[in-house]
Symmetry: C2
Subunit: 315 residues, 2 copies
């Protein structure tokens, strides 16, 4: 039986899996993404994280039939260009070749959000549908599309649902533009906003929780904990995020009329089903065909979805 490797390259962590022919997970591992150095250091950490998973699966790295990588940035001819949030990765780096040499297996690259969407479509919560929109609610808000059973990537840059404008001249987004959905719902933008509110003297336990957990960022777990504690600022800001997600996702549904919306990403998975329901509720007032809203589900492959989806690149 053949085994395949999958790597989900994120700004915070590198998640790897080893799967069999039927995409059953035989082993998995996670390493932090290097925060300094450059692309060769990231590639080295990726190879090491895949070896960890291979060891757990009792598979030799060189015995893998192929390794798929879901990556941010622009992907062309085995190279990754201008990968956001990765150290020293403004230019182009031949990731497929470098990793292939280190692992002794053929490597294929794909867009991180699109492979996670494909994974949900082929193996997860999207299996019953022919058309779906994946909404990955995390540091940013990414989108992936499956239309009539096939991924839709446009000219290569489709799926930027985080940059759907929900408020003309609205809040400043991390992309530099104004009023994007991500400016209200992305974890990076929410953290920046929360810091400003704290500086203004607003009470919140968000940063106390961050210190208690020895983190440097407001992770999804910290937001979840603050919501459980009914922290006022956290509650207000998540409601604001839900309002933006409701309008932005409903706008895309008005244009595409997909059967299903799948909510993934760090926050989406951590907050889970109750919040997927709240997104569905926030969409409702903006849906034009409101008598037939799309089904809304949480990504059922959870945190491993991106890495499992990457293995589909080497089928």
């Amino acid at each position: 039986m053949a085994a395949y490797g999958g790597i989900d390259l994120g700004g915070t962590k590198i998640q790897t899996v080893i799967v069999d022919d039927e995409r059953n997970v035989l082993g998995s591992a996670r390493r932090p993404t290097p925060t300094s150095g450059g692309p060769p250091d990231v590639a080295e950490a990726m190879a090491a994280a895949l070896s960890d998973a291979a060891a757990e699966a009792h598979v030799e790295g060189s015995a893998l039939a192929g390794v798929g990588v879901g990556s941010p940035g622009t992907i062309e001819d085995g190279a990754v260009t201008s990968a956001r949030n990765l150290p020293g990765w403004e230019g182009s780096f031949p990731l497929a070749q470098t990793l292939g040499r280190a692992l002794g297996a053929p490597v294929a690259l794909g867009n991180d959000v699109q492979v996670a969407t494909d994974a949900e479509f082929q193996l997860g919560a999207g299996k019953p549908y022919k058309s779906l929109l994946g909404v990955f609610w995390g540091t940013g808000v990414g989108g992936g599309l499956v239309l009539d059973g096939k991924p839709w990537e446009g000219r290569g840059a489709a799926g930027e649902i985080g940059h759907v404008v929900v408020e003309l001249d609205g809040a400043r987004c991390t992309c530099g533009r104004r009023g994007c959905m991500e400016a209200y719902a992305g974890r990076a933008a929410m953290e920046a906003h929360a810091r400003k509110e704290l500086e203004k003297g607003r009470r919140t336990d968000l940063f106390k929780l961050m210190k208690e957990r020895d983190r440097t960022r407001l992770t999804s777990g910290i937001w979840a904990r603050a919501l459980e504690r009914e922290d006022e600022l956290a509650t207000h800001m998540i409601e604001r995020a839900l309002g933006a997600l409701g309008a932005g996702v409903a706008s895309v549904v008005n244009v595409l009329d997909v059967e299903c919306v799948i909510v993934g990403g760090g926050l989406g998975i951590r907050l889970g089903e109750p919040y997927a329901k709240r997104i569905a509720k926030a969409m409702q007032p903006h849906l034009f065909a409101d008598f037939r809203p799309p089904d809304v589900h949480v990504a059922s492959l959870g945190d491993l979805g991106g890495a499992i989806g990457a293995t589909l690149l080497v089928e």
Copy 2:
């Protein structure tokens, strides 16, 4: 050589064409849409308008190989349900059967905006592209999609680009919702807004022009004339519309990354190329992949696009 009929059923007018095999226009006619009565009266006016075009083309109505109709409302099994802006058309009416009997030719129905988009794709400004978004800027703002060479209609209700939210809790839309693009850019919403401004004492020549031209509505021609005269309210409101169109259309492009945007509809065609350029300019600050904006063109089939597109239903 076979001849085909095409009918574009609008809220204001019924536009018909007769075309040959290669969709060359042999004759065309236009009648006002009945404003009272019910679906049978509308069907009668449609048959009469098609006969006018057939007479111009020197073709017997019963000699037509088929007649296509682009219609508003929900289309299913030859029936049209809840067609907005048409008199007494809340329920369902067997339009294909009724028209077929009156015309002595087979009748096929399609969505008005989608057939106009298909016409531009197959015969008009969209010919060089494989993926495009049609934006029909008129009484409302309708959208049509061609992705990878094929129309995308979702579950039948796709393309409602007019109801993309550009402003959370924004202006009231004719659909009852808030902040839709159409609430700023649709001619119906703009007329309602202009009337309110007039009542508040704001100076404008819009309604004077309407009376001079013996109209009961602010037509596209009236808006165009008021812009030429540099009417302050008209200029301000069209700028507001362009701002909303820029954000809404760019949002859809961020998600779909289509190659081309085609601007049609009454206002889109009447205002033409300079305003298509202004829409492109208004999109630019909201485009995520701003280094590669889609091409933006005016619908090249003009006012006949919908009717010509309808003939494609009976190929």
